[in-house]
Subunit: 139 residues, 3 copies
């Protein structure tokens, strides 16, 4: 049994979902393991992770429409406003989605379903550099 750890930096430029499927899966496949468990971890609290459909780009656009309506920027409900009107909504969106994903590795590759992609969900409007930590255990 072996482990591998790797860090990926993703430069984001505005609020939307960024497809990181290839970066994540190619790294995991390159480890040369047959079977294992891949964990993707994001070291931030205003950006998150998500597995969802990556075939039709309408889907990720609609996901953003939904979250924009559910957690509006500048909502007077929030008292934590010193970092801007999109900061507290970013923390709520992070709470409602994922900070980590675990995907079994089968036959040498992460066993995503046919329509599944791995996304980094940037919730802030300003450009940012986001760090993902990948952990793989298996043999």
């Amino acid at each position: 049994m072996k482990q591998h750890v790797h860090q990926i930096a993703v430069h984001t430029h505005g609020r939307r979902l960024y497809d990181v499927t290839a970066q994540v899966c190619d790294w995991a496949a390159a480890a040369g393991m047959a079977t294992g468990l891949l964990t993707v971890y994001i070291q931030h609290t205003s950006a998150s992770l998500l597995i969802n459909e990556n075939y039709d780009s309408d889907v990720v656009a609609d996901l953003e429409r939904f979250f924009k309506r559910l957690v509006p920027d500048g909502d007077p409900l929030f008292e934590h406003t010193i970092e801007g009107p999109d900061d507290m909504p970013a923390h709520v969106r992070t709470a409602l989605t994922q900070t980590h994903l675990s995907i079994p590795l089968v036959n040498g590759r992460p066993a995503l379903g046919t329509w599944q992609g791995v996304f980094l969900y940037e919730h802030r409007h300003a450009p940012a550099q986001r760090k993902l930590l990948l952990h793989l255990i298996g043999e």
Copy 2:
């Protein structure tokens, strides 16, 4: 240290939570490990996973009532409508719940709490065959 992988097919017939606790836990217990980590992964984007109360069936019915109100079918907000009025809501519900669950295995069994059950949450109305991937590592 060893690993086991197993795929389960669940035939769903309409939107609701399906209790898969016994299927998942019996497979994990049959591996004969004392301690480990069980990961349940669903290879779909319009059905998801959830751990919640499985004692009183009112709870899962109320969960569905809540999600139906939060993410209504046919919501004019959505542009991705070609797969039906329940498709985009299904992707949003999946984003708000889980695609993977990790449960420690202790004393040979997944260490669920007294009232916890493992559920597949089908978000589409049409019948479907859903695939769950189970991964167990431990000894």
Copy 3:
């Protein structure tokens, strides 16, 4: 490769987020592993887990404001009311957040980002004793 398992009891006294970062991370660091995967699992369905900002206490207060508005106590939508007006909302809040967290262990410590803390989110108003199960695998 080795595994360690540990149970933590957290006494809660009312609905709010409880910072358990030190308890969780100190235990994991004490295992003396260089690299691994830490899983935190909560054995309850009306309390949950969350990774979010732990620097400014306004953030966790605003998170609670958001969930209180999204899932109001005593909502007439719910039929499961026998355990009190905050019980079914607690199950919904649990479904919308996390029952388990997985965090890579790098250089001997869980690799949390600079502003990330690990929280137990108590959703009931009455005092409770909540059990967290920690699982660590690595070497």
